[in-house]
Symmetry: C2
Subunit: 360 residues, 2 copies
């Protein structure tokens, strides 16, 4: 693993994480939370993970302005100009284009790793080994590289990447697949030809910018027309004016599924997108009755398979409950069957309507 | 209804109410809680209920010294000497004997109503009409009078009173019965000869004291030996010395079941002993899915028959739950099947062992 001044990292940290309500809130999305009680938030862990690969000054965080102060507080060695604020939520392609345009104003040579701020990675040295390999590969090759996670179960909550057979580390991607149904997911995992799409991308600056020009000219164009402003004192005003009119499109749909030079590097570093209470449950240490207790004390009686998270120092006494989420934070208590957790987003939006955002 | 300077009320307020944990705590038993969000605790409602019958100076509250300041705060027009502190918990007979001994030191003529501080009475004017009738009756008659509640269901959590048939308002009691099983309770209710024992007693001072002398001489004796101290500045010291050595016996077992001159007055003023979350549920207003929400906002999804009580101003979002108690107070969240609520006492005592009283 080599640290290089040409390596850059773009961390996407604008998500609102409503599936983790009531722990995640509008003013405190999940990337800023210390889910495992380790003393480090998911964002802090994400930044720390790339420190060995590049100078900290090469880490950019794209987010909403509302979270800027929180990020500077959580990662105090970032300079304010490393936090790029999106004036509107426009999905991942405009977000990444902004960061790449910003890097283009700084340098003419950059190998970039793009990652979300709210995934969990258990084996950090292995991540660093893989990321380092990938950065070296994209430094020399005009390719878009994605990291594919070895699937451990027929997960229906993730997208899949099918690759072309072969022995090489870097294999050409055949197709990207959206979240499959259960049967399809089982076929994917059995075939051995599919990997989970972790949404971690590596490329060099020129390759990805050429892709934006080719596949998303209505995103690349506006950034190029203000190229003299990006990276300078006028950047914020320029972005505030142009960003909201960009089309809302994901990098997967807008670039990865259209480009021909897409490669995947298989990885196995204990990744989870930690998208839901259920995935947090799956990853956490369980007691003998398969209950997971986070941040609190809990006594269980005739209770199995629950995940219970109360704000620090409280006691939960749980009787007669099986496979539930019990989560309490900042004035909101949620009790919901684990299997129905996809409904949480709906609860949040109904609560927003009903209580005018008081509990959001 | 007549107010009389000879009417006295003894309110027993020493209970610890562990069945309502975590709302009731050692330092805040249920009689001091405002369960229905009316702004008045059960104790305050109990005191207010007898105000039309007597001067407030004739109301005595027997309790533990730990609750004295709280009582003076909740009922600020009581003088400190109206609060009689038991140095130890010795069941209802010594408690009542203490209050009667105290009244004997003040007056030689008193009609006394004895009630617990933690029952709920819905129809206060009817209570006052019945209590007034009863006080007038015991003023003139050497009897022990108890109020019998017209049963509305075959409740197995209450004791029953069987009376001798007849048309009179005041009917002689045939037997007192402990909490019956379900089948027996159904027979009792169908027979029309049984009433619920509400533990509300009326008698004149001399009648009850003669009963203590006759049936519980080891309680009456010690009080008589210190008759010169009770009611004066030496009372507290005297009580501290003698009370703990009194036998622990209930007024029901020690007096009511032994005396011959016991009468019952049938009453129907919406009484409940409010002994458990389940009885609170039964008494409370329900939404269309039979859920009861106390002190908080709550959104229910596929949830029925629950009682949810969170500390003021919180939001509960409850999905997929049927017939549960969800109660959160002061750092403790309890989730328990309604049908298993008798286990709560056990949870409390295990939590006390485990956490050293932190959550009790």
């Amino acid at each position: 693993m080599t640290q290089s001044k040409d390596n850059y990292c773009v961390i996407m940290a604008g998500g609102i994480g409503s599936r983790f309500w009531p722990y995640s809130r509008n003013n405190r999305p999940k990337q800023f939370l210390d889910f495992f009680g380790t003393g480090r938030s998911l964002l802090q862990m994400t930044v720390d993970r790339v420190r060995p690969l590049m100078p900290i000054s090469n880490v950019l965080i794209v987010t909403n302005v509302a979270y800027r102060d929180l990020i500077l507080e959580q990662v105090p060695d970032l300079r304010p100009e490393q936090i790029l604020c999106e004036p509107a939520r426009r999905n991942t392609a405009p977000c990444i284009a902004y960061a790449v345009a910003h890097i283009r104003a700084i340098t003419d040579k950059a190998n970039i790793i793009v990652a979300s701020s709210d995934a969990l990675i258990m084996n950090e040295p292995e991540f660093q080994r893989i990321a380092s390999m990938g950065l070296e590969f994209v430094a020399e090759n005009d390719v878009l590289l994605t990291l594919g996670m070895k699937p451990t179960r027929p997960e229906t909550g993730y997208g899949y990447i099918q690759f072309e057979p072969g022995e090489a580390d870097f294999r050409k991607v055949k197709t990207f697949t959206e979240k499959p149904n259960r049967e399809l997911a089982e076929v994917f995992v059995k075939s051995g030809e599919f990997l989970w799409n972790a949404g971690i991308f590596l490329w060099n600056m020129n390759t990805i910018w050429n892709c934006f020009r080719e596949f998303l000219p209505d995103i690349a164009g506006p950034f190029e027309s203000g190229a003299d402003k990006v990276g300078g004192v006028e950047e914020a005003d320029f972005i505030a004016g142009m960003f909201p009119s960009l089309p809302s499109v994901s990098i997967d749909y807008g670039v990865m599924e259209k480009a021909q030079n897409v490669y995947v590097l298989e990885a196995d570093f204990g990744w989870s997108d930690l998208g839901t209470w259920g995935s947090l449950y799956d990853l956490s240490k369980k007691d003998e009755a398969e209950n997971v207790t986070l941040h609190c004390d809990a006594d269980y009686y005739d209770a199995h398979g629950n995940v219970v998270a109360l704000e620090g120092g409280k006691l939960a006494v749980i009787q007669g409950l099986e496979d539930y989420i019990v989560a309490e934070s900042d004035g909101v208590l949620l009790i919901c069957r684990k299997q129905d957790e996809q409904q949480i987003r709906q609860f949040v939006s109904l609560a927003e309507e009903k209580y005018g955002g008081k509990f959001n």
